[in-house]
């Protein structure tokens, strides 16, 4: 149950001895985190409904271990999030997950951003007590956007839920049973996917990554710049990850004001054009009916000269400017000012109606 169905009645409960107020539809996890008490959770994610699958967010509620992500706050509840018993259960839960996870953090793209790695670190689990067989899958993945390494999948189900509940696509679901349970498209056939990458965004481990950024650098060595998506008019807030003067990855802050961290295939994966070899790198001037490289001085002077000549001969209204709905507002402002003042005509328009 997601929190938006929250009823508004206030309840008072105690978490680790601290008295807190909550609206009765809120989950214990939400209330605790808001209070500054961290409860780890691998399947819970604020953008999707809770499923209670990973069991890592167990807390003692009135003495009974329960998942805090699925239990709603109630009046007079006594919640303990950090008793030795709970920590023991939690530790073993992580141990079980790690027992079926490749121990290859040193080559995993997710290192440092991996929620499972973080918990292994916190609980100091180097070799799981409950070691045993691990699921081995051969990668068979034709899509050009998302790298799916199902051996790293911990079956938290976040990807399934975000694809279904947020994206409305439902491209993937659990298949098979028992230890062989696997997240895949129906019948492991075609992936009916929009490649929005919301699944990549919510994946807690390295199971889902963008193909574009694998091996392009560790996240802490990458410079992040907040900006606005250059595609449709929504103006999604994005963060460019820059390494070696290249965009290696694009993310969106989860709480971004416009798009709440959601992106589409273009906004998340469509930036290779920036570093395309086709980019124009020098001014060009037409000579003998062909375009030849020229210096800025040559090109600018020549252009100014031609505009002045034509203005002189045919009047300013024989010249027109077409600007772009993709350039910045500042560029557009300057452009129309140039046409209106330097040329002296109102023949200026842009492509918005096209």
């Amino acid at each position: 149950m997601s929190d938006f169905e929250a009823k508004k009645d206030l309840v008072t409960l105690r978490i680790n001895g601290i008295t807190v107020q909550a609206s009765s539809g809120e989950t214990v996890l939400t209330v605790a985190r808001r209070t500054g008490i961290d409860i780890p959770a691998l399947c819970h994610h604020p953008k999707i409904s809770s499923s209670g699958a990973c069991r890592v967010c167990l807390v003692e509620i009135n003495g009974v271990p329960m998942t805090s992500c699925t239990t709603h706050a109630e009046d007079k509840m006594e919640v303990i999030t950090n008793s030795p018993y709970i920590e023991h259960l939690r530790r073993d839960m992580i141990d079980l997950i790690l027992s079926d996870h490749p121990n290859d953090c040193m080559v995993c793209q997710k290192t440092g951003e991996c929620e499972l790695q973080e918990l292994a670190y916190k609980y100091g689990i180097r070799n799981p007590i409950f070691s045993g067989e691990r699921r081995i899958y051969s990668k068979k993945d034709g899509n050009p956007f998302i790298d799916r390494d199902m051996e790293k999948c911990i079956l938290c189900g976040r990807c399934i839920k975000i694809c279904d509940e947020v994206q409305g696509v439902g491209a993937i679901d659990f298949a098979y049973k028992g230890f062989d349970t696997k997240v895949c498209p129906p019948f492991e056939k075609d992936l009916n996917c929009e490649f929005c990458g919301q699944c990549v965004m919510v994946c807690p481990t390295g199971a889902l990554t963008g193909k574009a950024w694998i091996g392009k650098g560790r996240y802490w060595k990458i410079q992040e710049v907040d900006t606005t998506c250059p595609y449709c008019g929504i103006g999604c807030n994005i963060t460019l990850h820059i390494s070696d003067n290249r965009i290696v990855r694009v993310t969106s802050p989860e709480d971004s004001v416009v798009n709440k961290g959601l992106l589409c295939v273009k906004g998340r994966f469509g930036y290779e054009f920036v570093s395309s070899p086709d980019r124009l790198k020098t001014p060009l001037i037409r000579k003998d009916n062909e375009l030849h490289p020229a210096s800025w001085e040559e090109a600018l002077s020549y252009a100014a000269k031609r505009f002045l000549e034509i203005k002189e001969t045919h009047g300013p209204d024989a010249i027109a400017g077409l600007s772009s709905a993709r350039c910045t507002t500042e560029d557009n402002y300057l452009f129309q000012k140039f046409i209106r003042v330097a040329i002296g005509t109102n023949n200026v328009d842009h492509c918005a109606r096209l």
């Binding site: 409305g168 980019r279 402002y333 300057l334």
Partner: protein
């Protein structure tokens, strides 16, 4: 957009994106939201999860139909008839907002009279939508106080685009579904900074901030501000510029970041116009089809290589930041313009994009309260007139800027699509999920190209059967202006007799087919309806 501004005084989305999730009724007409504005669709699905009903009106079975409470499959070009009929039902059912009509609108009676003939029965005949569905849609929309309309080019890119927008405005005014949170009229902008380009004054009849050139006081204001004598006459629109170029009246054109050869209707006509110029200057990041015709090409930087702002579809001014060094000798557009200007005898001295933005703000009250410092973390929605103003989430909270809004009768002359034996199919054009516009950016992304790199024509299975073709077989599609060869994708997304072609693929350029003469009052071309012929290819043509 022009028409929306005529009615209300502003042509922008009246609500905010974040208000979508609280909509109770979402009426999508002429917008393939899931593909063209995917993240808006996400917000709509969130509303749906909270109980909102989605009504889709579209001739094509677009992805949004899957989530719709009701899907109205109107015949192409009959949107305004459908909207008129809905208005008829709303009046009939008494679901209008009399108090709102009295206080905020004019010309109701005349308009009301114009609706007489638009009964649901007539609507069914005109639009092909069953009358029960028209009634259901009208009642659903009018029964909610949180009903919002969303549209894009499916409404505007028609020879009757203005009439379509008027018809939309009419039902919003009739129900009073405008001027409050989560209810209003929302044109979704197709490009990142359409709003900003308009705001900045890249329009022939207005100065920055939609201030009319014709009004002497305003003309004077800008002459003073820019310390220059300015032309008092409104200029030419983009289609007119091409037209006049072909006629030899326009002699030189300066194109910044745009590719009219591919983007304007009737490519043959456009090329002719541009070739006819004495001088063509193109400033872009790629050597586009238009740049290839230029006398001088100037390398500009892309969004990631400069500072500035984009204003999104909900009027939110947001920062764009320089993250990369530009390739080669590429320069920022503002630097190029200033250098050119200087050489033409008009100095432009700006040390940063922020200075330019502040100048714009000083000339238009709606932006006056916005500064780079204020939008450091998150953007602000204009109007934002003062430094302490938080911005405006939704428009017309306390009435329309021009006073009352007028109801506009929208006649339906039934001749958008003419019977044509020679060109029996109706072609509409638009986007798919994976590409953007005419492809100069997305087609240079290998991942996207490898997944969606081929042009196609959507065609109904029955039509395909008649032509004895199957998916992936190439066809020749021709209009009076030209023809292209494109592989077919057989699908029930389109109806019999209708075909759809995405606009992104230069190798099968839709604008070889479209017609430049199909212009609306707003000078928007009718990209959504072109009458074409489709022929299977035989023998060597394949």
């Amino acid at each position: 957009m022009a028409s929306l501004a005529t009615i209300f005084g502003s042509g922008a989305m009246t609500n905010s994106i974040r208000e979508i999730e609280d909509n109770e009724v979402i009426f999508i007409i002429g917008s393939n939201t899931k593909e063209s504005h995917p993240v808006i669709a996400n917000m709509m699905l969130k509303a749906r999860a909270k109980g909102a009903k989605i009504i889709v009106a579209d001739p094509r079975k677009i992805s949004m139909c899957k989530f719709s409470y009701l899907w109205l499959r109107q015949k192409p070009g009959t949107d305004r008839a459908l909207l008129n009929c809905m208005a008829h039902v709303i009046l009939e059912e008494g679901l209008y907002d009399q108090a709102f009509i009295d206080e905020f609108t004019t010309d109701f009676d005349e308009w009301n009279k114009s609706l007489e003939e638009f009964t649901p029965e007539a609507g069914e005949k005109l639009t092909g939508v069953p009358k029960e569905d028209i009634i259901k849609a009208a009642i659903t929309y009018a029964s909610s106080r949180k009903a919002a309309i969303y549209y894009t080019m499916g409404i505007t890119q028609h020879t009757h685009g203005t009439a379509n927008v008027n018809a939309i405005a009419n039902i919003a005014l009739l129900t009073g579904n405008i001027g409050r949170r989560s209810t209003g009229i929302n044109p979704l902008r197709g490009q990142n900074n359409v709003q900003g380009a308009c705001d900045a004054g890249c329009l022939p009849n207005v100065f920055p901030g939609y201030q009319r050139i014709r009004i002497p006081k305003i003309h004077k204001k800008f002459e003073n501000a820019w310390a220059a004598a300015l032309s008092p006459n409104p200029g030419l629109t983009a289609p007119e510029i091409t037209e006049k170029a072909a006629e030899g009246i326009i002699k030189a054109v300066y194109v910044m970041g745009e590719n009219p050869v591919l983007g304007d209707p009737n490519m043959g006509h456009t090329i002719k116009g541009f070739k006819n110029l004495d001088f063509l200057l193109v400033q872009d990041i790629f050597l586009t089809e238009t740049a290839r015709l230029a006398d001088v090409v100037l390398p500009a930087v892309c969004f990631a290589e400069k500072d500035g702002t984009f204003t999104n579809t909900e009027r939110r001014v947001q920062r764009v930041r320089k993250a990369l060094l530009p390739p080669g000798e590429a320069k920022e557009d503002s630097w190029i313009i200033a250098e050119l200007s200087r050489r033409m005898g008009y100095e432009m001295n700006y040390s940063s994009s922020e200075e330019i933005f502040d100048e714009l703000g000083s000339l238009w009250p709606a932006l006056e309260g916005i500064t780079y410092a204020k939008i450091q973390q998150r953007g602000i929605q204009w109007p934002c007139p003062t430094k302490n103003h938080p911005g405006t989430e939704y428009l017309y909270k306390s009435g329309f800027p021009r006073g009352k809004a007028a109801f506009t009768p929208v006649p339906f002359d039934r001749d958008t699509v003419k019977e044509d034996k020679e060109y029996p199919f109706v072609l509409s054009t638009g986007r798919n999920l994976f590409h953007y516009h005419y492809g100069s950016m997305t087609r240079r992304v290998k991942a996207i190209e490898s997944h969606a790199g081929k042009a196609y024509l959507e065609m109904h299975p029955d039509d395909a059967a008649k032509l004895k073709i199957t998916s992936d077989a190439s066809v020749k599609i021709s209009s009076r202006n030209g023809s292209v060869i494109v592989p077919v994708r057989v699908t029930e997304r389109v109806r019999q007799g209708e075909v759809f072609m995405p606009m992104h693929y230069a190798e099968a350029a839709v604008n070889i087919l479209t017609d430049e003469k199909a212009l609306d009052y707003s000078k928007t071309p009718g990209y959504k309806i072109t009458q074409v012929r489709v022929e299977a290819l035989i023998g060597e043509e394949k």
